[in-house]
Structure formats: structure tokens, C-alpha cells
């Protein structure tokens, strides 16, 4: 494994399987009465969040604590640039207090990459703007692989990712990780929510694109719905939420287009009634809550691999 987890580019297919295997062990720990492993005892991990995300922050916090690390949460929202302090100065100051690893969320694409260049401790990207969210993609892949039958089971499977692809770091990371796991991705969105240059990009990276969800659903082995922000309407990306739902929502009627038992994923938080109907969110085939519990296991695995050091690796 590389020193940092900034992008899915940092991990090979084999390393992803290693991370999954460790995560499976960690997952079992969650079922125990005492959920503590001593692996990171004496280590300090800082969760530096420049952007709010209770869900991701708590997941990393629990993961760190179950590995016996000291976890410090720091919200740096609006604190640096507005005070005139550079990002570099902010992270150098925060990590100078004897920190062993940095988990970082930032609203700007590339921020974690830049920070990793300034620090000599492992940096884990907990989401950088519209760029990547590698631990989310790993937990999605882990959830799907377990659901579809274990290691190798994603080989040749077709997975739809549906929604606001332009602004989605979950999409950018998943398109890479699912390909590494052998699956083929079909990215579905209205043309206004397709990333720029997507045609060349899809050709180079071997995924498909579609504007028509109804054509795609009958042939997929899993479907991943992305959150759509209502404010995209004012940006002119689509006319009304009603029109979005009719075109791209996983409605009750559309559920019938899916083959029996096809897993439904959503990174959360969901807009029920916009991109996903209550019937789909609560369907027997919905894996949305599994994703949340897998999140802790995956983050334990990532922290373990990057921070536990040679003696315990």
C-alpha cells in the first residue's frame, strides 16, 4: 500500500482485496460485546474537517476508537482562509501537535493531495470537493462484493451509477474501484449533470454512459443512486425536482424494471422522494444500512493498514 489514501488510484486490485479481507475481520469485531482492538494504541489520529459531514466524521471516529487510537475531531470550517491563513499553515500547525495520521475532508478538489505533499504523516482523503471519496467507494465495493458472493463476484457484473455525476466524488471514486474489481459501470444522468469531457473519459476508462435510466435498469446487477442537491435547480441543471424524479428517480414503478434481488445502494443522506422513493430505500434488496456498518469496518481496515506500522502489519 502507498503511504496515503488520497484516491482509488493509490490502491491496486490486490490491495483492495486485502483491505476487504481485513475489513471482514473488523466487521466481526463489531458484533462483539467489547468492540476494541489494541492495534493503534498510543497513536493519535486527527479528523480535520473543513466541511461538515457528521456521518463520515463519526464513521472515522468510531473506526479509530475501536482500534484504540486517540481520535481528535477538529472542525476547520471557514477558519483558515477567512483569517488569511493558508491551507499549508493550517495543516502544519494542526499536525505539529504530535499527530500520527490525518483524516481530512475539504470542499475543494485536490486539497488532500496538496496537503499530503506538505506532511510526512499518512493522509486519508475523507472527501475532497467534487474529486474523490475513496473510503466511500471501498465500502460500496465491499458491500456489493459481500452481497454478490465474495471475492471475484464483481467480475463481469454491470453496475449503474445514477444521478449528479458532475458534482459527485462518490462517482469519481466508484468508477475507478468498481473497474478494478472487474465490474463494468454504466453512468446515468441528464446531459447537464454529466462531467465535462465524459465521452473521452468513458472511452479511455472503459465505462458506459446513458441518458435513459429505463433502458439501463433491466440489465444491471446493482444500482447505486447518488444524492441530488435541490439547489442544482437554481443552477439550471434541471427544471424541477418533479421532472428530475420522472427522468432519473428510482421510483416505485421503476423498481419493477430491476431483476429480482438486485442490490440498491445510496451513499446518503437520501432525498426520499427525489432521487429515491421510500419503496426503493426500504426494499428488501436495499443495502443502504449495510453500507453504513461496512463504512466503519472499511475505515478500520484503512487506518490499520496505513497506521499500524511494521510491527503489527
Amino acid at each position: 500500500m502507498t503511504r496515503h489514501l488520497l484516491s482509488i488510484d493509490d490502491v491496486s486490485a490486490e490491495e483492495i482485496q486485502q483491505l476487504f479481507a481485513t475489513a471482514a475481520e473488523m466487521h466481526d469485531v463489531q458484533k462483539r460485546e467489547v468492540k476494541k482492538l489494541p492495534a493503534l494504541r498510543g497513536r493519535t489520529v486527527i479528523n480535520l474537517f473543513f466541511e461538515d459531514s457528521t456521518r463520515t466524521r463519526s464513521s472515522f471516529e468510531i473506526a479509530g476508537k475501536w482500534l484504540s487510537a486517540d481520535v481528535i475531531n477538529l472542525s476547520a470550517k471557514g477558519s483558515s482562509a477567512s483569517k488569511g491563513e493558508s491551507l499549508r499553515d493550517t495543516v502544519l500547525t494542526v499536525t505539529a501537535m504530535g499527530v500520527d495520521g490525518l483524516v481530512m475532508r475539504h470542499s475543494a478538489s485536490g486539497a488532500a493531495h496538496q496537503v499530503a505533499g506538505w506532511l510526512d504523516i499518512p493522509v486519508i482523503n475523507a472527501g475532497d470537493g467534487m474529486h474523490e471519496h475513496p473510503t466511500q467507494a471501498l465500502l460500496d465495493g465491499y458491500t456489493l462484493q459481500r452481497q454478490l458472493g465474495g471475492p471475484g463476484s464483481l467480475e463481469g457484473k454491470r453496475i449503474a451509477i445514477v444521478g449528479d455525476l458532475t458534482h459527485s466524488r462518490v462517482f469519481r471514486s466508484n468508477v475507478k474501484s468498481l473497474s478494478k474489481l472487474g465490474a463494468s459501470v454504466v453512468a446515468v444522468a441528464p446531459p447537464t449533470l454529466m462531467p465535462s469531457g465524459v465521452a473521452e473519459w468513458a472511452k479511455a476508462d472503459g465505462f458506459a454512459t446513458s441518458y435513459t435510466l429505463d433502458d439501463v435498469l433491466p440489465e444491471v446487477d446493482a444500482v447505486m443512486m447518488l444524492r441530488v442537491q435541490r439547489e442544482r435547480m437554481s443552477g439550471g441543471y434541471f427544471p424541477t425536482s418533479r421532472e428530475y424524479t420522472v427522468g432519473y428517480g428510482l421510483t416505485r414503478q421503476r423498481l419493477a424494471l430491476l431483476r429480482e434481488g438486485v442490490p440498491i445502494l445510496h451513499p446518503g443522506p437520501m432525498n426520499r422522494g427525489l432521487e429515491i422513493s421510500p419503496e426503493a430505500a426500504d426494499a428488501a434488496s436495499s443495502r443502504i444500512l449495510d453500507q453504513v456498518s461496512a463504512g466503519v469496518a472499511i475505515r478500520m481496515s484503512v487506518l490499520y493498514h496505513l497506521l499500524a506500522g511494521e510491527e503489527s502489519a
Binding site: A81, G84, E85, S86, L87, R88, D89, H106, A108, S109, G110, A111, H113, Q114, D128, G129, M130, H131, E132, T166, H167, R169, R172, P195, S196, G197, V198, E200, W201, A204
Partner: protein
């Protein structure tokens, strides 16, 4: 103080001697006179001192990033004897007093003639015209007006500005960026496959092209002169080609354009590592655009090279990419970049370099003592260039106060070795 430059190749022609006295070229040919200073210039090319239409000197307001004096020193090191200092300082150069104060700081530094560019609109707000005529009538003699950093995006304001400067032969230099297609601040990267992959908000080429197209129509309608700052796309080149043909036919209006050294050499793929050194406005474009810009400079569709020298203090670049300041240094390496890109490839000869980096920019800005032929009776504003020198740029050797140098560690061919402002040496390499 007399100066004898021996055996220099004037604009790339046969070697000759050039004798200067009292700041004026007195004799060219085989000169037998002796001088206070004799420079052995065999193998060197002698050019008229370069003229930069587009420099940011940051004074007043950000003297930690650059001052008029440090910028003028960097200009001299780049072979420049005249620079036009953009108006987006703090406060903005939108009054005669502000313009005169910049002009005087340049005179005190004495390293290059500094001509302030006046803002088109008060405070660069794009709403009300600044006191254009008063700036023109001041000692600073402002002829070029620009809200650079911002686009005069309201077509009504642009129309009035173009009309108004006709009274005194001014020119509007436009930063062409439709802010609703490429929002200031957020649009930070050429919109294309790479911005899609990196998740960076895109700055599509069309946001430049629609403004260039609109402005040439407004210049035609008003019978005025518009100058396109830092052209960056092949589409802009197409519009310019059409517009120049029309302007020539009509004879009553004019359009000129400049390109930066970085848009002639660097491409958008440099952003893959999110290094804010390469964050610039307009953004670096793909190779197809770079090719089109080179061809347009060679065939005259683009008239001039201008640096858009944009110094920034270290901390202003050490933010996340989307939050970091736009801009890169340019004065010291401009000639080397043009030499590497245009001369080495045969797209321009040295006479062509003199045209695009000195003669034409001086003509566009209406400067009298600059961009003159290297001829007897002309002011001795000169740059001596070693066309064969190859070197690796080291940003720490800069005379600028800033270090945001996109050429750092890059190998360039052709280098300024000396600069003379009215016969006085302002740079010795």
C-alpha cells in the same frame, strides 16, 4: 556616457557595431570610435527593448508580492524597457492621481518606463466609466484602459467605453471572460476531460470566445479600437481572423490581440497534480489551442506577446487549488519562452520577435520612445540576446519579489544578457 556594442547581429542580420551616445543611437556599421564602455557582442542578437502590454505590479496594495521597482527590475532582466502596469491594484488605478503615482514610482526606479493602464470602470465594478480622459490628459498619458482580472461584461458599458476613448485615440484592452459561463473565482481550470476527472469547476473556451465575438462587433459598430488580452483558444483565433479581415476592409475600426508566453507553451495537463503554480486566468488550454495560438502569432492574427506577469506572495498560492490566487510570473523568461517555442521551430525569426514583443505592442499602446527600429537617431532602448544560451530556470534567482514561476526547473533556449534604457544599462546577465 557613450556605449559601443561590437559585432552584434541586429534583428538577426549580419554582425555590425552600434554606437550610442547621450541615450541615442549615433552610428551603425563598422565603428572606429572608442567609447566609455565597449561590449563584445559577437554571436549576440540585438533587439529593440521589449514592451509588455500586460504586467501586474501590485503597487499600491500588495507590495509584499511586487513593487513597481521590483517589477521594473524583473522587466529589465527580461529585456523589457517599457511595461504597462495593469489597473487592478488596491486602490484601483481609476483616477489621474492614481495613474500619475504609478508612473512616478516607475520613473524613480529608473529600470524600465512604467506606463499605467487605467481602469475602464470605477473600481473595476463594470458599471460606471472611470475618468478615462483625465487619466489620458495627466502626466502619465494613459492610452490603454482595462478592467483586467474582470471582464467589462455589460455590453452597454463596453459600447460606451469604446465610443468614449475615440476622442483621444485610446484603446480598450478586454479580459474576455463571460462571468456567467465562467464565474470569477470558481472557474479555475480549462473545461474538458481533465477538469471532469479532477472535479474542478471548468472555464470553457466559449466563455472567452463569446466576449471576443461581441466586442469586435461593438468595435465595428462604434468605429473604435479593441484589444483582446491574453487570447487562449483556437476559437478566439478563428473569430480574430474573421474580425481582422472585416476591419481591414472597413478601415474605420481595429482589433488587436495578445498571447502570453505560458499559453504558447504550457498545457492544461500540468494541472493533474493540483499545483496552484499553474493556476492562471484564462486557464492553460489543451495542445490544440496552443498550436492554434502559435500559428496565429506567426501569421499576424495575434499581434503581440504580453506576459500577464502576475506575482503572488507564497501564502496566496498555498491554498486548495480552487482557493489559490490566479496568475504566474512572466517578465524574466518571456523572451526565452518565445525563443524556445517560436524561433527554434522556425515559426518566427528575430525580426519577427522584435515585431511581436516590441514594435507592435508599442504601437498598440501609442508609446513614442519604444518599439523603434534599431537605427541612427533612435533612442537606445535595446536588449542583447544570446540566441544559443540554454539554461534551466531557477525561481530563486528571480528579481521579482514572488516565486510563482511556472518555468522553474524547465530548460529554455535563448536568453537576455543585457538591457539598455536610453543607453543606460538596466540589466547585466
Amino acid at each position: 556616457m557613450s556605449l559601443l556594442i561590437k559585432g552584434a547581429s541586429v534583428l538577426g542580420a549580419e554582425p555590425t557595431d552600434v554606437y550610442v551616445d547621450g541615450g541615442v543611437i549615433r552610428e551603425i556599421g563598422t565603428v572606429s570610435a572608442t567609447a566609455d564602455e565597449v561590449v563584445a557582442a559577437s554571436g549576440l542578437v540585438l533587439l529593440p527593448g521589449l514592451v509588455d502590454l500586460h504586467t501586474h505590479l501590485r503597487q499600491p496594495g500588495r507590495e509584499d508580492a511586487e513593487t513597481v521597482a521590483s517589477g521594473a527590475a524583473a522587466a529589465a532582466a527580461g529585456g523589457y524597457t517599457a511595461v504597462l502596469a495593469m489597473a487592478n491594484t488596491s486602490p484601483v488605478t481609476d483616477t489621474a492621481e492614481a495613474a500619475v503615482s504609478v508612473w512616478e514610482l516607475g520613473r524613480e526606479a529608473g529600470l524600465a518606463d512604467v506606463f499605467p493602464v487605467g481602469a475602464v470602470t470605477k473600481g473595476l465594478a463594470g458599471e460606471e466609466l472611470a475618468e478615462l480622459a483625465l487619466m489620458n490628459r495627466s502626466r502619465a498619458g494613459v492610452t490603454v484602459f482595462s478592467d483586467d482580472g474582470r471582464c467589462v461584461s455589460d455590453p452597454r458599458v463596453m459600447r460606451r467605453a469604446l465610443e468614449y476613448v475615440k476622442a483621444f485615440g485610446g484603446v480598450i484592452s478586454q479580459h474576455s471572460q463571460d462571468p456567467s459561463l465562467a464565474p470569477y473565482g470558481s472557474a479555475c481550470c480549462h473545461e474538458g476531460e481533465l477538469s471532469g476527472r479532477l472535479g474542478l469547476p471548468g472555464w470553457p473556451g466559449v466563455a472567452e470566445e463569446v466576449i471576443v465575438a461581441r466586442d469586435v462587433m461593438l468595435a465595428r459598430h462604434t468605429g473604435s479600437r479593441v484589444h483582446v488580452a491574453h487570447a487562449s483558444t483556437a476559437g478566439t483565433v478563428e473569430v480574430l481572423r474573421w474580425a481582422k479581415a472585416q476591419a481591414e476592409k472597413d478601415g474605420s475600426w481595429a482589433v488587436t490581440a495578445e498571447v502570453t508566453p505560458h499559453h504558447l507553451l504550457l498545457t492544461t495537463d500540468l494541472l493533474a497534480g493540483y499545483d496552484p503554480t499553474f493556476k492562471v486566468n484564462p486557464p492553460l488550454r489543451p495542445a490544440e489551442d496552443v498550436e492554434a495560438l502559435r500559428a496565429a502569432l506567426a501569421d499576424g492574427t495575434i499581434d503581440a506577446v504580453a506576459t500577464d506577469h502576475a506575482p503572488h506572495a507564497r501564502q496566496d498560492k498555498e491554498h486548495a487549488f480552487v482557493d489559490a490566487a490566479f496568475g504566474m510570473l512572466g517578465l524574466e523568461e518571456a523572451l526565452s519562452v518565445v525563443s524556445t517555442v517560436m524561433v527554434s521551430s522556425g515559426l518566427l525569426d528575430w525580426a519577427g520577435v522584435a515585431r511581436v514583443m516590441s514594435t507592435t505592442p508599442a504601437r498598440i499602446a501609442g508609446l513614442e520612445g519604444h518599439g523603434r527600429p534599431v537605427a541612427v537617431g533612435e533612442p537606445a532602448n535595446l536588449a542583447l540576446v544570446d540566441p544559443a544560451a540554454t539554461y534551466v530556470v531557477d525561481r530563486d534567482r528571480s528579481l521579482s519579489l514572488s516565486r510563482n514561476n511556472p518555468w522553474h526547473d524547465r530548460k529554455l533556449t535563448g536568453r537576455v544578457v543585457s538591457t539598455y534604457l536610453r543607453g543606460k544599462q538596466t540589466y547585466a546577465g
